[in-house]
């Protein structure tokens, strides 16, 4: 009995010490900065394969003709003009002028083609690589990549999702059979109530991480005491019942406590960035979300997604059934500076070669303009863009017909796009995970191969 007491007391003391050490940021500021610099050096020294990924998710399904697959001279082309880009011969929509300077780092896939035309089903398909099936819950891309690229001992989560609007299909954002260990760490959940936020500075409140600090009524020293008590109870319980749920519980708390450390938590403090840079990204939820993505990537987070569904809110912004052109122009005004600044910022920090940046939504829009100046859902021929690390830039893959209605060259299915992303990240797309049904499941459908010549 005496020994058990000693053990409990010892465990309590050591946990308390840990927390106090974490809590006094000055004591370890030096070592943290060393760690940070080291990461940056490591990242820059392995330029051939990207090991991190940012997904720019366009909620609602963006119009391909008005962004990356212009159709000048055809009535389906609409009023927007194509503009020349960094890459001779490649033209894109006129409202992406800043992005046009980066085409040498982008592979534009103009021949995406599929069948799912419903937001919920299509989001699931594009975000997991699988059509929905009742019996199995496939993991979303970020969860798959977090499992491959993440480090359990890191202070920051392996998968961060910024401002996701998940109303059309929650399951498209879930870790599925991989479980909460690989769940997105959600910052700025705009599902569904926050979707109404439109105030110009809505991003400030939305991008705060909830519950990252103990309540103000609990001073650090007392929090340390609490964690000490908690740890001795937890250790005794888990040691006696070594099951997945107990071990996962203890591990998640450890990660949460590490994240609460001021140095780790400061990754989410955008105020540390210069005003000029913040302005360049754009003072919008998406713009500041992209800046946050860079801060996280820089600190070793392997997968970050940023959703764009409204000017300063969540929502289905790209779902332009009515008044397509006005809306696309306004959304491009948010997208263009954010995306281009992200690429520049990553590049200046030596991170672009190791960071894959994906741009896509759940499908495209009808080439034919409808009676209300809108474009409807269109999964048959649409565009997606891969850029940065692991990608042969300056190229267009595939081609649509002159009227944009069909893919005329190299039809590309969603699993092929995701397999290409895997290849760019140095991951075998046909690795398997155990699933909730006890059957092994390939990361990406076995039949899908990476697109030729896109991944380096």
């Amino acid at each position: 009995m005496k020994r058990a007491d000693d053990r409990a007391t010892k465990a309590f003391r050591s946990a308390r010490r840990d927390w106090l050490r974490w809590a006094s940021s000055s004591a370890i500021a030096a070592s943290m900065s060393g760690w940070f610099a080291q990461l940056a050096v490591q990242a820059a020294s392995q330029p051939t394969r990207a090991r991190r990924c940012i997904l720019l998710w366009m909620n609602g399904g963006p119009s391909q003709i008005d962004t990356f697959d212009p159709k000048p001279g055809h009535e389906n082309g609409g009023p927007f003009k194509p503009i020349a880009t960094q890459t001779p011969g490649i033209h894109i929509g006129e409202y992406l002028p800043q992005v046009s300077h980066w085409t040498d780092r982008l592979a534009i896939i103009r021949s995406m083609s599929g069948k799912e035309a419903d937001h919920g089903r299509a989001s699931y398909l594009v975000r997991t690589g699988r059509a929905p099936e009742a019996a199995i819950q496939y993991p979303t891309l970020g969860s798959l990549m977090a499992k491959e690229l993440g480090d359990e001992s890191a202070a920051l989560p392996s998968f961060v999702s910024i401002a996701p609007y998940r109303s059309t299909n929650l399951a498209a954002y879930n870790p599925g059979f991989l479980g909460p260990t690989f769940a997105p760490f959600i910052v700025g959940d705009v599902t569904p109530a926050g979707a109404q936020q439109q105030a110009a500075d809505a991003y400030r409140a939305a991008l705060q991480v909830a519950d990252l600090r103990p309540p103000s009524s609990i001073p650090d020293a007392r929090q340390a005491n609490r964690l000490g008590l908690w740890r001795s109870m937890e250790q005794a319980f888990v040691a006696g019942r070594p099951d997945i749920p107990a071990e996962s519980h203890a591990a998640a708390y450890d990660r949460a406590v590490r994240l609460m450390h001021p140095d780790a938590a400061s990754a989410f403090t955008l105020d540390q960035e210069p005003d000029k840079l913040r302005d360049a990204y754009g003072r919008t939820m998406f713009g500041q979300g992209c800046l946050l993505a860079r801060r996280l990537i820089e600190r070793g987070v392997p997968f970050v997604e940023v959703s764009l569904g409204g000017i300063n809110s969540g929502g289905m912004g790209w779902d332009t059934h009515v008044g397509n052109f006005e809306t696309v122009k306004r959304l491009c005004g948010v997208l263009d500076p954010a995306w281009a600044t992200l690429l520049r910022d990553l590049s200046e920090r030596g991170l672009l070669d190791t960071t894959l940046v994906i741009w896509m939504g759940e499908f495209g829009r009808t080439p034919k303009i409808n009676g209300t100046g809108g474009r409807d859902h269109y999964p048959l021929a649409w565009s997606a863009v891969l850029g940065g690390g692991g990608i042969h830039g300056g190229q267009v893959v595939g081609r649509t017909s002159d009227d944009g209605t069909i893919v005329a060259d190299r039809p590309t299915a969603v699993p092929e796009l995701l397999a290409t992303a895997c290849a760019a990240l140095g991951i075998d797309p046909h690795k398997t995970n155990p699933s909730n049904l006890g059957r092994p499941i390939h990361l990406i459908d076995y039949a899908a191969q990476p697109i030729d010549g896109v991944a380096t």
Partner: protein, 494 residues
């Protein structure tokens, strides 16, 4: 029908495997361990302090059986199993626009469970429930209880309904057979579409509106295989041909075949699901592998349970009594010997995650807090995994450590449980610690746990030097309660 003889047969069959596999099982669960686990499994929440104290003090021999009967008669049983069956019927992550329909389904299940309706009759009603205009009315909050959500969750598609029916009620997964021949089991694509033929008359939904009226073609029983021109006639999975002559509706004929006593899959799937509910894994695992290549861990037990379940008239409470009354269920979860590692031998009770409802309702029992954060917290803690593989996320941990729910529950001014314990004049320090353990973990603390906690009262680390002994004691109790509420022991069923 008394359940004790079946409990004894369960024990005998599992014991036999232990002896064959040279297993040293975990010791029997002590009263407190049994009581908390059974309360969570039967009533969906941990027991109140008064219930635990009364149970521990009770000296009668049959107190466990009496407790089981009390729970089975309680409204909490009805509520909890309505949750359990709802998740079984709607395995998809429920879309927000299905919320009302899911609630109506739960309401319908409550009625059925309150009556202890025979399981075959419950399933028959799911399979044969009339469609049509009622679909639209499910949207409104005051619609009558109905199992229609099963159809909506499957998008009113014959192929989805067929695979859900087979998976849930027969334990047979047909999904892979939808697009190609099944790689694991001998089901074929044609067989799959023949089975879907029973739902051929169900009209498809518009993709943008899950509530658009769905006129049903009542007598249609042929269907075109998707992506082909081929049309097949409805046929049962055992290849038997339905008797169309009587003019019965295809869904009624399907229900006849499905729930017939000759269909061995039906009862086996049900008892396997109930077994998994209480043990964290099925006798066949995963649950939809009854038709596959996976042998049951205890074939004879599976058949015995199924046979007795049919003989009882598909009495769910009978089945539950038999399982919960067995010595196998009443094992400790403590890992005491390496031979307990193989979970398919059921040599110890494994730790299982709680459903969000079980967890929140237990939290309310432990802390006495209001349940006005229920919906928000259920959303935060929703999970799709099997209970024995349930994980915790970083966000969930942060919400528990720092969020308002636990902050209020451990606040000296907000927490009912804490206030009651602090202000109890008849309790000394030890008594107060015991009360907090009973409230959260449903057990008394071990002596080895108590001593460091009593010492904690006197520790001045982290306290303002000006604080009085009295306020230190209050804060110490709040800290202990915080640690208990954040513990895996509180968060899991074990």
């Amino acid at each position: 029908m008394p359940a004790a003889p079946l409990s004894a047969r369960i024990d005998a069959m599992v014991f036999r495997r232990w002896s064959e596999a040279h297993v040293t099982p975990a010791p029997p669960a002590e009263d407190a361990e049994f009581y908390r686990r059974a309360s969570l499994d039967l009533a969906g929440r941990i027991p109140y302090v008064a219930e635990v104290r009364a149970f521990l003090a009770d000296r009668s021999d049959d107190k466990r059986h009496a407790a089981i009967e009390r729970w089975l008669d309680s409204p909490a049983y009805v509520q909890h199993f309505a949750n359990v069956w709802r998740s079984a019927l709607l395995t998809q992550a429920t879309a927000p626009d299905l919320r009302f329909a899911a609630e109506r389904l739960e309401g319908w299940l409550r009625v059925e469970l309150r009556e202890n309706r025979p399981y075959d009759r419950m399933v028959r009603e799911v399979i044969t429930t009339p469609l049509g205009e009622r679909i639209a009315s499910v949207r409104s909050e005051d619609a009558a209880p109905t199992p229609l959500a099963f159809y909506q969750a499957n998008e009113l598609k014959p192929e989805n309904l067929a695979s859900a029916t087979s998976r849930i009620f027969l334990g047979v997964n047909l999904e892979c057979a939808q697009c190609h021949n099944h790689p694991f089991a001998p089901w074929r694509q044609d067989q799959f579409w023949q089975f879907a033929g029973f739902f051929a008359g169900v009209a498809r939904l518009r993709p943008d509106n899950a509530f658009a009226p769905a006129p049903e073609v009542l007598d249609r029983h042929s269907i075109t295989i998707a992506g082909t021109e081929r049309i097949v006639e409805a046929r049962y999975l055992d290849d038997a041909e339905p008797d169309w002559a009587a003019g019965e509706r295809p869904r009624v004929l399907l229900a006849d075949w499905l729930t017939s006593a000759d269909n061995s899959y039906f009862a086996r799937a049900a008892v396997n699901r109930m077994w998994a509910h209480f043990f964290g894994r099925g006798l066949v695992d995963p649950l939809d592998e009854l038709g596959g290549n996976k042998a049951p861990s205890h074939p004879e037990l599976l058949d015995t349970l199924a046979g007795e379940f049919v003989a009882s008239g598909y009495d769910l409470k009978f089945l539950i009594r038999a399982i919960v009354g067995s010595q196998i269920y009443q094992r400790s979860s403590r890992f005491t010997d390496a031979s307990q590692r193989d979970p398919s031998l059921f040599a110890r009770a494994v730790g299982r995650g709680l459903t969000p409802e079980q967890w929140f309702d237990s939290f309310v029992v432990a802390t006495g807090c209001d349940d006005n954060q229920r919906a928000e917290m259920l959303g935060k803690f929703s999970s799709l995994e099997r209970p024995a593989e349930m994980q915790t996320s970083i966000l969930q941990s942060l919400a528990m450590m720092n969020g308002r729910l636990v902050t209020d529950a451990t606040s000296l001014t907000e927490s009912r449980t804490l206030a009651a314990v602090i202000d109890a004049p008849f309790l000394d320090r030890k008594g107060k610690i015991e009360a907090l353990f009973l409230a959260s973990l449903s057990r008394e603390p071990l002596p080895a746990e108590i001593e460091p906690l009593i010492a904690y009262f006197d520790s001045t680390d982290g306290q303002a030097s000006s604080s009085s002994q009295d306020s230190r004691e209050r804060e110490a109790l709040a800290d202990i309660f915080w640690a208990l509420l954040n513990s895996a022991e509180f968060k899991l069923n074990h």
